[in-house]
Amino acid sequence: MLWRLAFRELLRSWRFGLFFIFNLSLGLAGFVSLQAFNTALEDQLRANAKSILSADLAVSARREITDEEQKKMQAVLPSGTDQSKIYEFFAMLSSAKGSRLILIKAIDKSYPFYGELEMKSGQIIRYGTPKEILSSPTAWIYPELKSQLGLDVGDEIKLGNLKLKVADLIEKDATQTFRAATLAPRVFINRELLPQSGLLQFGSTFSLAYLLKLPPGVEEGALREKLYQALPDPQITIETPSSAGEDSGRQLGYLSDYLGLVAIIALFMSALGAAYIYRLFLSTRMKEIAILRTLGLQSGQAVGVYILQASMLGLLATVPTLFFSYLVLPLLSQLLASFTPFDLHPQVNLEAFLVCLVMAVFGSFVVSLPFLVKIFDLKAAKLFSEEKFSVNEGARRWWPYLPPLVLFYFLSVYQAHSWMTGSLFVASMVGVILMLLVIGYFTVKLAGVLKGFRLWFLKFSFLSLSRRAGASLAIFVALGLGALLINILPQLKNSLQAEFQVEGRSKIPSLFMFDIQDEQLPGVEKVLEKNHVKPLGLSPLVRARILKVNGQDYERKIEAQGFKTREEEREARFRNRGVNLSYRHDLSSSENITEGRPFSGEFKPEQQKYAELSVEYRFAERMGFQLGDVLVFDVQGVEVEGQIINLRKVKWTSFQPNFFILVQRGVLDEAPKTFIAAIPFLPEEKRFLLQNEMAQEFSNISVVDVVRTVDEVLKTAEKMSWSLELMAGLALLTGYIVLFSIVRSQIKLRRWELNMLKILGASWGEVASFILAEFAFLSFLAALAGALLSVLVSFSLNAFLFESDFKLSWAQPLVSVFIITCLSLLISFLASLDIVKESALSILREEK
């Protein structure tokens, strides 16, 4: 019977049904497309990380893996795992044209599982590409060897006892290595030839890596844990694409947190739309419910009827959503591909569609539960008095707010893939809704106080606002929340983007020179000057060990039974590694103080007890250092005491040498030290010349070319930056669509009143002004409140989740306030046009 009732009423009010479906599917389409872009982006970033590792999982060590370990490893690996074994080690290459230190990468036919090598010949080496070096005694070399030694295709090189011909030059290689990457150019050879070379024997230093390609569906993280248990020796490291890569990995983590936020915000936006429209739907149905009650329907059954109706409508709303996602998404992605560095193929996956279905079918009424229970308060007796029915009466209950809260909490955590992000977000949303309610309450009160308008429509407009307090508050909160959600992502984007921003290629080093001795410094400077090169930085480097922190021993001694855990050992090794100290007058442009004060200047022995120290904040975090801590260093036999006066952050994309600890000037100036010089971007030709000149004049100074690495990182940074831009933009678009549908629904509710005004003789202009004034006031203040709160929320999300500097931008929120206000006005305007065109009677008949 409930089914029949629900169905019949739906058929009867099919116009409303269509309207409901239209609006709901708008919100849902926004949700799924955001979700689809999100997944596509995540996939691409994951693929990027995979191509760097060139595997799903890599087990590496700087020694051979024993047979026993082999067995244990194989036992853990799921069947269908593909393996590739590679060796990497430094060696001397000799040739007729000279000799040089190189990094040998000995590969097999499976390499690389992911990613690719671009060869000078134009060939692209991917998984499964036949490789010349495996079928003939040849090698691939990095182009540096051409510029430095003059080696080219066809030349013979000698590696130990191995004589190989150069088959090709590697132009682009995005893969990482398991050894110091930039010290020497790479040479790729066939792994099978290693025994012949005689280079690997007892005492050789090399890295061995098993690259694994897992069968689909295997979770990398879990397998990594299992492997760690099977291979407990700390000398073995196991990396997944997400664990590999230090700095960029962290940024990647930020990005994935951000995308998680995008997903929740999409969810909230669509729920907001659905809840709002459903609430209106209910309010128009109150009279019918009362009639049904008089006919003997229980309140519970009445609730059932509307739950069924909402679910049916929700289900139907997913149909246009699906259509949209299959027809419009591919077009949208093509459009985007034309101006972003991505080739994204967003697709609505089953998961997103299920969440969308849950949202549509259950979400709308769970969210409306607080209104649904009002059915129990309904006074059917009102039917006799021909009074208006509304959802805003009866007792206040708190419990109906609980199920939506719980539902959203879990959905948020699920969407963000993180308890922390999910909890934080839901908590801030609850806080924000409460704040919006308070602000909204005062706004509505304010509307009631505003009097003395000469124009009747203004007067009645504000009167209507304050008298219909419930409805006004609802739309205030909805618009405010919408404005807030719309603004969070762009705000966070600004802050996160600052992390990826590059100050221009000229500020980024292309060469590093290290091991410059004190007495070599003038000579080096002269060479640079002669070449018209001004170093970006010339940092002194003083080795030291930290002995004590606030009187406590800092270094970790080994216990009789050895270290208990891998983590403990790693921690001890890290602490015992010693630190590189440096000193400067102040911080560089790529650094900024997160806590504390800048250096006071030169060290003054008469006034200062301790030397001032500046500590990199992540290092401080890891070591538990606080502002004000006193550190005792052993600087090559001499104890130096210092106190931490600030924590500082170094911008990752600046590529400047990062010293964990900086000491103020005047303390270490006389200590034994070397220098590191960072050389700005130079054209390739000039770079090679400088490198050669340096090598000739100062044999000990190593010059490392980082252009290749920098380019790779910049490319990644650019992609990340674009991802942020893209998702923020999409969120804005979705948000405006949802707000559009909210305002539209709200206006629909006002048709009766507008029509009445018309019957009473108001002109079209007056009707329009009446509704415009009301919405201008409400939407402007709501959007303003939401936008301002968004600054607060993004500030705290930024502080908790991303730890980056908050970049406040007023333009973005204010523009959104403007757009939301204009949008509301436009919709109101269109609605008033409708009213004037439509026959007054039909509206009067339609609904009271």
Binding site: A91, S204, D515, R573, R577, D634, Q636, G666, V667
Partner: protein, 199 residues
């Protein structure tokens, strides 16, 4: 706290009252990269010397990670202000690992030995081998460099201070290069075996 300079003079002047001083001038192997300062071989060597009755000796660790032979003379000039009696020169590993020219390393080490001689500080030369992956040519020349220096300057010579340690995963950290605590014990013993008669 005083500035480094003042501090060091005070420290050094106090040392003039100590009986005998051995400075170990080295790189990360000497610094004890990854192990505690007390677990690095210079500290262990001092203990061994004391246990063997040579209580007058103080061993000073002057290891600087990443340093090359090019730094030897400058550092000696600085360190010799404390008037040491002997210097154990253990440099060259980074030269080799970075594939620097062997002639240059040899030149730097020779200059260091000559400077020490001029300052009447006794030199003990610690030799090193390069791992075989650098190829027989390079490793052979590298080994010969120390032998040639020892012969030319007639200094006390420890042919390979990493004897029994180098290349054995049991005695090295996960990086396969730096000795662990056990490795440092063996190095200390290797050196002690030569020094107990020589000092």
């Amino acid at each position: 706290m005083r500035p480094f300079l003042f501090c060091i003079i005070l420290l050094f002047s106090s040392f003039t009252f100590a009986q005998k001083k051995l400075i170990v001038l080295g790189d990360s192997l000497t610094e004890g990269y990854g192990v505690a300062k007390e677990a690095a071989y210079p500290a262990l060597l001092e203990k061994k010397l004391h246990e063997a009755g040579k209580k007058e000796w103080t061993v000073i660790n002057s290891g600087v990670s990443g340093s090359t032979t090019a730094s030897a003379v400058t550092r000696m000039k600085w360190l010799f202000k404390s008037k040491p009696d002997a210097v154990l020169l253990v440099l060259g590993a980074n030269d080799g690992l970075r594939g620097l020219k062997i002639e240059d390393s040899q030149k730097h080490l020779a200059a260091a030995i000559e400077y020490a001689n001029s300052q009447k500080v006794r030199v003990i030369l610690g030799g090193l081998y390069m791992p075989p992956n650098y190829g027989a040519d390079y490793t052979g020349q590298f080994k010969k460099m120390y032998e040639a220096l020892a012969k030319k300057y007639k200094v006390t010579f420890i042919p390979f201070i990493l004897e029994k340690v180098g290349g054995n995963p049991k005695y090295n950290l996960a990086d396969g290069i730096h000795p662990n605590e056990e490795g440092h014990k063996i190095i200390a013993e290797n050196i002690f075996q030569v020094l107990k008669g020589a000092l």
